[in-house]
């Protein structure tokens, strides 16, 4: 599917450039952050492939606005200066306010920072989005004992998730209305499941898509939510023309939910569902990375120096390096990764002293008890393995609980194998980054339960995330793989990533959505997508 999308994207490389309609993007995270330091306003551009891709898109458009949450006081101040409307910015590396005198091809983007009541936001973000939706969609609950859904969760939904979604839906609808009611709206992720149908109710001619970046499990998993809430979530999403996912499995699961939980007629061949006289399509666009930016960073002086330092520190005598880079999220399956590493050392004692495991882990959501417990489990297993298998004062695991992207990239260039053993993962970009900039032909050890496995599994050593013996065996196979095979696999995987970078991910979506904007010249009534349309 990744390949198919890539091919399609290549036919349509100019799809975004030819797009002559306004675009409204919604995501919780903003593409910029406003700060005040020493009395001066600073505007910092956000990191990540999504920002890069969408800012790239904005540069090609006459009219683009990004709706997102205000998170700093200075965000709120900037929004207030524009009466809550969009702040026009020139989105260069260091964004600046646009004053209308920019060159025609300047990448101007309106950024609408929505100020949400802090209590509502807390309920919306800290109770419903995380952990509830995140845990359900990643299958993290031990259902025998959790969650217990009670008034707290119900109130957080009704007094947090719902009004926050309404506020963002209003902001999106206002931007659409300001453009005459016709715009392409691209919603993002699990924070905003209730936005699409509200926007459609106000703006019936809009073209709406919603990209879901995390796994979409089958109907069984959604039974954890009260019936009315899960139905509202599905109905909300069915306000879209397209609901988009990273993999075919997630798209199919979404359709099965519509069938099983709402009783709607679905078609698994055309990947569509009929609702209220409309047809909604589930589509698959595997996200990727900004290859050029990553390669540039990997060859920067900073990263070269960091790599040399890691080499001296960790691999002074030509040791092999196993690497993982993750947030400390239970979905990343870090504890079982260390259990597998422990088995590997026990079953292959010749590796003790010749293999280092650099675990570069960014602490995450420590205010959620499951996450702080999980961090404790990580510390416990690392202590045990290091105590048992230290040689000459050197411990086999180097646990670094910090975030520093250049160091992670330096480690990518150096490592012999990278471990991605997630329980469930929408895509996993570490896998794509590592194979792209590896200089030692790193072997990708990749969980079958990641979105990335659909594209890269053929060139990876596949991991079963629950089977620690299998993971230990797979790591051994990776670390003893003949050099030629390592080189071939890494080159092939890197080729796949280069062939479908994040710009193409976006372009493939735009190309599909453009077909729908073509309907604007016709009657707005009737099905918007032909039920027989195929990918």
């Amino acid at each position: 599917m990744g390949m198919a999308n890539t091919a399609k994207a290549e036919q349509d490389t100019t799809a975004a450039a030819r797009l002559d309609v306004p675009v409204v993007v919604l995501s919780h995270r903003a593409p910029v952050q406003f700060r005040r330091e020493q009395g001066k306003r600073l505007i910092r551009r956000g990191a990540g492939g999504l920002v890069t891709a969408l800012v790239g898109l904005a540069g090609q458009l006459d009219d683009a606005v990004w709706v997102c949450a205000a998170t700093t006081d200075e965000d709120s101040a900037a929004a207030a200066e524009h009466d809550g409307g969009a702040v026009p910015l020139v989105m260069t590396a260091e964004p600046t306010p646009a004053d209308g005198n920019e060159a025609d091809d300047a990448p101007v983007l309106g950024v609408r920072l929505v100020d949400v009541d802090p209590e509502q936001h807390e309920d919306f973000y800290q109770v419903v989005s995380n952990p509830l939706l995140w845990f359900i969609q990643h299958g993290l609950y031990g259902l025998a004992t959790s969650p217990n859904i009670g008034r707290t969760e119900r109130d957080a939904y009704e007094q947090g998730y719902v009004p926050v979604n309404e506020a963002f839906a209003d902001a999106v609808a206002e931007e659409v209305e300001a453009r005459g009611g016709r715009a392409l709206v691209m919603l993002h992720d699990y924070h905003f499941y209730l936005v699409a149908d509200r926007v459609r109710a106000r703006c019936p001619e809009v073209v709406l898509s919603h990209f879901i970046h995390i796994p979409w499990p089958g109907p069984d998993a959604w039974l954890v939510l009260p019936a009315d809430i899960r139905e509202q979530i599905l109905r909300g999403l069915l306000g879209n023309d397209v609901v988009a996912f990273h993999t075919e499995r997630f798209a199919r699961n979404f359709l099965l939910c519509c069938q099983e939980l709402l009783g709607l007629p679905i078609d698994l061949d055309t990947k569509t569902v009929r609702v209220g006289g409309r047809v909604v399509a589930a589509r698959t666009y595997p996200i990727s990375i900004d290859v050029d930016a990553l390669v540039e960073m990997a060859t920067s002086d900073e990263v070269e120096e960091l790599a040399a330092e890691l080499q001296r520190e960790l691999l002074p005598d030509g040791q092999q390096l196993l690497l993982r880079v993750d947030r400390t999220d239970p979905s990343k399956n870090i504890v079982r990764g260390f259990l597998a590493f422990e088995l590997l050392l026990e079953q292959h004692p010749e590796l003790v002293g010749t293999l280092r495991f650099l675990a570069f882990l960014q602490p995450s959501r420590l205010d959620v008890p499951e996450y702080s417990d999980y961090l404790g489990r990580i510390g416990a297993i690392v202590a045990r393995v290091n105590a048992r298998h230290a040689r000459a004062g050197v411990a086999p695991i180097d646990l670094r609980l910090q975030e520093h992207y250049p160091t992670a990239v330096a480690a990518y260039t150096l490592c012999d194998a990278v471990m991605v053993n997630s329980l469930a993962d929408g895509m996993n970009l570490v896998a794509k980054e590592a194979v792209t900039v590896s200089r030692h032909h790193a072997v990708l050890c990749l969980s079958e339960s990641t979105g990335a496995h659909a594209e890269l599994g053929a060139f990876a050593v596949t991991l079963n995330p629950f089977d620690i013996q299998q993971q230990a065996d797979a790591l051994y196979a990776a670390l003893t793989m003949p050099a030629r095979e390592r080189a071939d696999r890494q080159a092939a995987a890197a080729n796949v990533v280069r062939g479908n970078d994040v710009a193409k991910w976006l372009d493939a979506q735009i190309a599909d959505l453009r077909l729908l904007t073509g309907l604007w010249s016709e009657e707005p009534e009737g099905p918007r997508l032909a039920p027989a349309a195929r990918d």
Copy 2:
């Protein structure tokens, strides 16, 4: 679907009677148990609807044999006396050896008790079947931390589950071969997923069905198993002509697993999957109870006396009675049931002193840590609720950790509401039993995640198993429901159960399978089931 099956069963009430082919049944539990007491051999008939139904079938057949596990020394001795072959028994209430001089219509059944190596059986039963398969199929694992699949589990599968399945497959195949290779084989449950394809390999003309009594979750859940094991399980089951479940959801999930995990072409309309030139059908037959036997027991002197005793003990001043009857299995969701009851008393203090909760719980699998932990949680929450809400020395919850079926039936006749809030449950027969013999128009409070909900949900108060506030509200609605509505609902539910009792459950299967035995007059090649055949 229950209704549809019922209608079909009524057209075919004589399907079993008209069955003129040999039948071989396989289940882990035996229909009889041999014991030796004071030097004498005793033969005790097993309890439960399945035994009743299948013994009833045997009574109508010329030739029926039941293959099962020997569990006592005397079982093994009886099997040895017949060189490991079937022991012929007259299956009256107190079974006796058949000597060939019985009346033509005597219910003679051959019982083949298979002796399994105890270590293999331990691995097969205590590691793979329970907890591994049971936990996966009921969604009980907290996947962030368990299970860790390692050599123990791999060895238990390869050296336990596989050889035990082979031994039972051999026993079944021998019985089929002794009947000229043509027999109807009915396999049962999660212990024997690898039997069907082995039997088919030895006996290509056999007609094979496998009934799965527990939930069949979607593909996501099966990813917990190593890829080779889950594929072997599915391939094993695809040796059948029919794989049967309690609900449409389970049947659909099975087909989706064949598609997603094996890449086989499925048809959700005809509910079939194509494999190796054959067509395998997923079918739905909701199991039921032996209505006549239950009604007889409910009106027995023993149960009448037990009911009077419960009335005096628990309800001396006309209190209302809430009842649950379960094994202490985490899938039964007992702890959340007590949490909901606690909320109910807190939010409706007028119920304190006027409502008793009889929890009749049979301790289960206490050698499995998850189960003994769960029993501890039950004790803890009961202590808290009883300490907080006792009035005049009377605690609201009467927790009875024992099994005594007549007392449970007595409680069915007395109660005002029965709570079945399972997380996941293949069918749940408590729901069917309670509405059948209730004399106080008990309101059935029934989890949407039980198989029974597909048939009885329309007449029940539906429970969301994870939402304790919703459960508390639903219990309140049940306990304050107008008498007329209670009576109407209970009568309607009892009608459904009476209309589809366990004999009809079996007869509907036989009726479908008879069509396949008709193919014995034709070439054994080619598809056995037409892919266009519909339920």
